[in-house]
Every structure is written in C-alpha cells, then in structure tokens.
Symmetry: C2
Subunit: 384 residues, 2 copies
C-alpha cells in the first residue's frame, strides 16, 4: 500500500435518543447558531428534540440552506454570526446543511473574500467550532472535513477540504431518517455507494484490508437498501445504511490506496448547470466511467464483479459487463434513472461541463490522471 | 446494532520514512522523555532515525520497559519526568512500551498513589501528552486509550482505559518490523487476531458492516501471516499486518456490538502468575473458550466457519468443530503451541487464576456475563 496520514477526531454518538447528548457536548456559555435546511426538522420532531436538549443555551436560527448549498445563502449566516457574536454552530440536517455549515464556520473568521477559499484554496487559520445532528445519510460530511459549495450567479460547484472543519461531534440517530422521502433515501444510498467505488475501483496496490472494508460497505448497502425502501421504519436497516454512509467517506477506506473521484468531479458540473440531484449525476456517469476505463481498472473490476456481485462468469470481459450492468440496475431499482435523456438533457451539457472543467483546471481526472476533456466528452456521450 | 459512542483522535503516519515526521509533530519547546524497551531500537536503526528527527529537542531517555510493563519500573520514569520537568513523552517500541508510557503519562500528574488508577479506577484529570513510534504490531495500543500494567510484588496484571491517554500521534513504519524475532511477529499476529475475535464472535445484533470489517481483518491476517513468517522483509505483507493490528483494536469494529474479552481477562492471570507471553495465553485459552461457549456463540461460530475459514460442511456441529480446529491450527502453524502442559503448567494454575479473578471481581466474564469461576475452571481444564 501507499504511505498515508490518517486523522479523524470527530466524536460520533450513534443510536436512538442520542440527540439528548447535545446538552453535554455544547458548554452552556456557547452562543449557538442553529443551521438547518427546508424545515423538515420542524415536522419530524427533530427540531423539538434539539431545542429541548439546548434548553438554557443562547440559540439563533438560520434555516433555508438549500440542497447544493449556495455561497449567497451561506454568507447571510456569516453576517448573523458576526452581528450576534456567536461562537458555536449546530448543523441539523443532511449533507448540504453540514457542508454549508463548514463553509460558514470557515468564512466567519476569514479576513478576505471567502469565495477565495473555494477558487484559490486560500488558507484558513481558524473556524468557528461546530457539531452536527445528521438527518440524511449519504454525503459522509458528518465525519470528514470536506464540503462542496455552489454559487448561483457563476454556476460553480467547488470542493474545499480543511482539518479545521471537522465537526467536533456528530449525532446519528437512525430514527430521524424514518420520515425521509423515498428519493432522498435512495439518493443517499447511491452517494455512499459511489463514494466507496471512487476509493476502491482503481488499480491494485496490495491493500487487501482496504479492499475488504470497501467491499463490506458495498455489500451491506446492496443488502440493506431494499429493506429501507420497502419499510422506511426498519430501525436496523436504517442504522446499517447510516453507519455505512459515514464510513464510506471518513478517510478510512481511502488510506494508502489510489483515489479516482472523476465521476464526482464531472457530476458536480451537471448539478451546477442543470440542477440534477448530486446522486443522480453519479448514477448517470458511473456506469459510463467504468465502461470507458475498463482497461485501466480491469483487475479491480474483476474483483468487484466476483466479490461484490458474485458474478462467476469465466469470461473476464463478460464478467466486467455484468458488474457494470448490476451497478446500473442497483441504481435504477432505487428509482434513479441513469441516462441524461431521462432528464431531458442533451449534447449541450457536454460543452458546458467541459468548459467548466477547463475553467477550473480539472483536466486530468481519475486515479491515473488520464481522464482529460476528450475522455470526458466520450464518457458523457455514452451517458446521453 | 446497539447504541455507541466512537471517538479516536490519534493521528497515524503510516509507511516508509515516516519517522522523519516527528520533527513536525513535537514542537521544539517540548522537553521529551524518550521511552523504550530492551534496546532492540539501538540495533535496528530506529533509535538513530528518532534522534535525527529530534535534533534540537531536549531529550531524556528511559529504557528497559519490560514486556508486561511493571508498575515498579514505570514509577522510575515518573520520577524522571518530575525531576527534569519534562512535558512530552515519546514511546518507541511495541505495545508494552506504549502501554507503559500511557501509565507514566497518567501517573506523572496524579495527586495520589498511581496504583489506585488500576485497582480503584481512580479518576485521572490530566496526563502528559505523548506520541508513539511503533516497532511491533499486535496490541493496537498505538491507536487506543487502553493499557495493561503488571505489578511484580503482588502478581497483578490490570487494565485501565481513559480518553486522556490516546497518543497524540503514532508513526507506523513497516520497515521497523523487519528485524523482529519470529516469535514476536507471531505473537503480534495472534494478539491482533484474538482482539478481533473478542469483538466479533459473540451473538448477532444485526451489524453486518461490523461483521464484515472484523472478517476482513481476520481473513487478511490469515493470508498475510505466512508471508511475513517466510520472508520477514516483505514490505507489503508487513504493512498489511501492521494496519490490521491497528484496526483490530482502535474501537471501530467493536462499536455497536457485544464484546467478549473473557479470553484476555483469564489470560492476563496466566501471564501474571507464570510469565507466559500474552499471545501464548490467548492461543491456549481461545479454542477452549469457543468450545465451551459453542451454544451461546452458535450463530456467530457458524458464520465465522463459513466466511473466515470457508468451511462448507453441512453439519453445523462439525462446522463449528472445524472452525475451532482451524483457529488452533493457525496459532500452531505460527509456532505457538496451545496447551498449558506444553509450558509445563498444570492444574495448580487453575487455583491461582480463579483466586486472582475473584480477588479483582472479574467473575462474570464474556458477552453475556455467564463465565463465572466454575466455567473458568472448566475452560482451563480443557486447556491443560
């Protein structure tokens, strides 16, 4: 395996009733900004549990963080922090709220124009401490230090990663996910699945343990997904999905192995340009990426076919075909259709995506850096 | 799965050449106590690498920490810290040096009699910060906050666990393990293997991901062990063993599942009373524990047989027998014989061990608390 550094100081409280631990996690002298999304937490009881646990704290609220959280929105929260002199943030919601909160935390004490954190990798020297109550598993943001932020007026969607934006703690109560709409549950499962694939389906570097951990997450997602889609209040299955999603992107399985991330980086521009759900972009692109890169990924694709999908076909090319087919079928069975035409998006998207990739110098993608703009175009053509 | 809290802030630097990161990990104003064991680090080049990286730091040295580190020895290091006003410890060695260092770190600022930390669970309010350069994988001490400390004059061997004694960082360079004697390599593998078993082979709680992570570590240890025994300088195999051993006991795989630990707690007294290597006590006791608890552990034993050892016998009792046989065979193939008589220890050990367990109130062992002193006697009789 390759050399690596692993560090992840996030404290996880997992299980029923864990929202009550908030009162021990946040000292009483903290002045809290409570961030959330579209307001579902006020319908499913999570908001009440949080407010009960924070009884006695000073709490300001900032709702309305949208999916693919926008710079324009988040800067309003930054203003609120400054205005009220707040010194802790509690994110209550899914990955977008957590990602958005990471940006708010970094931007609140950033001396210059915070957009530079995304475009120029401007260095961050401090961040407002924050915690998280997760209500939608998928992004893994609850246990990592990365975030993806969009900007409406420039149609940008960019990543930033910094150790100062690890949550101090994250509370994962699977019952908070019972009331999710089916498409959000499905999106989260696909997102977690593809996070694992990005760190696993590359080329072999003699890392049998990382491989088995990755395969373990994939197999568990495949087994548990139909259960939660059938019965949204299956606590055990919700728990397993939630823990899988966290471990899919908390730095662990990617340690010491090559990482791909081409599907994500191309997909971000489909969301930025056409408003497709993040997971939908992954479901559309991944089968095409795997098919195009089948020579470069051959050994791992064969291993994936055998170990994850139990394909026993002795013909290697057919085994790879079967693995890609089953991957697509898994996404489709969850309700995500996997061609751009299903979303009324045509060839014009290729020009937009390649222009944006070029503009942000994302032109050598994949674990070998061999996915250039020409290859992106080919991949996208087979996704039409 | 069961509710849990997971927290592990240890920074891991893994791979060739990582000892050089020491100079960034320890600020120049720190006054360091360098702790080590019998001196092998002076023969294999590790000491030189460490001293080079610490060029410019104030460093005192304390060597001679023995296997199963003793209170009497460690208190000498505590005196040294006080005398020279040291404020950082760097442990360089295997699990005993790291465990011993955790006790030194806690004892150095403990107001009362530090032995009470072990016998009375006396609360710790501070500890000297420390880091670790690991040279012998097995105990997992490099990425957890537990330690096992012995006392010669009372023949005690006791555990303490406290979040203040997580290492700040641990450096894992597999090349430092090339020169280990074969029995130490084998002991480390057996120790890591049994750590996984203690957290996996209990009863099912619908935790498919934890199961697969545990099985992944076991399968990898089984595959890689013969490689390092055959070729001690096989970097890839040494790396895989080292990372397996760390993940076998860093709190992750035990999250949300029942834990056993009977084999360890009984085994500690065989070491304390008769000087057996820790791993040897595990190799002797585990097959007997599994056999005696086969009804209580039935479902997981069958899963272990199938998934870890690929036993396909349709008769369940025979499948369990085969799994236990293969476990014992794995230990024996590594050179650890698995009966007390092989070490010239007879029935008298039963009286000593049960007396000590009783004295320290370790009388309801195992994941169900059903291993009382009578059961311990039965288990030990089948280990004679």
């Amino acid at each position: 395996m390759e050399n690596f550094t692993f560090y992840n100081p996030v404290r996880i409280h997992f299980g029923r009733g864990q929202i009550a631990t908030l009162k021990n996690e946040i000292p009483l002298d903290k002045r809290i900004l409570l961030t959330y999304g579209g307001g579902s937490i006020k319908k499913n009881g999570v908001y009440t549990q949080v407010k009960t646990a924070l009884n006695g704290h000073t709490v300001c609220e900032f709702g309305g963080i949208e999916p693919n959280p926008r710079y324009e929105t988040l800067m309003q929260a930054v203003a609120l922090i400054k205005e009220h002199n707040l010194n802790f943030i509690l994110a209550v919601g899914g990955g977008s709220v957590v990602d958005g909160t990471k940006f708010i935390a970094a931007a609140a004490s950033f001396p210059g124009e915070p957009w530079d954190i995304l475009t120029q990798h401007a260095p961050i020297n401090s961040a407002v401490p924050f915690g998280c109550v997760l209500t939608l598993p998928g992004t893994g943001s609850e246990m990592n230090c990365g975030a993806v932020i969009s900007r409406k007026n420039t149609k940008d969607k960019l990543v930033f990663i910094h150790p100062l934006v690890f949550p101090q703690f994250s509370i994962l109560d699977p019952t908070t996910t019972f009331s999710l709409p089916p498409n959000q549950t499905a999106n989260g499962i696909v997102d977690a699945f593809v996070h694992v694939i990005e760190q696993y389906l590359t080329y072999p570097v003699n890392s049998p343990l990382q491989d088995r951990f990755a395969e373990g997450i994939l197999q568990t997602l495949i087994e548990e997904a139909p259960k939660v889609m059938r019965n949204p209040e299956d606590y055990a299955a919700r728990s397993n999905i939630m823990w899988c999603a966290t471990l899919a992107l908390n730095n662990l399985i990617g340690c010491g192995v090559p990482n791909d991330w081409a599907t994500h980086l191309i997909g971000h521009w489909l969301t930025a340009g056409y408003g497709l759900d993040h997971a939908v972009t992954l479901a559309i692109l991944l089968p095409s990426v795997l098919n195009h890169q089948r020579a470069q990924k051959r050994e791992k694709l064969l291993q994936y076919a055998t170990r994850v999908w139990n394909v026993i076909n002795p013909n290697p090319e057919e085994r790879i075909d079967a693995a890609i087919f089953k991957t697509r079928e898994f996404f489709e069975n969850l309700g995500l259709v996997t061609h751009l035409s299903n979303y009324k998006i045509g060839e014009e998207a290729i020009a937009f995506v390649t222009k944006k990739l070029n503009e942000h110098k994302q032109i050598t993608l994949g674990e070998r850096g061999d996915i250039n703009l020409e290859v992106v175009e080919k991949i996208m053509r087979t996704s039409l």
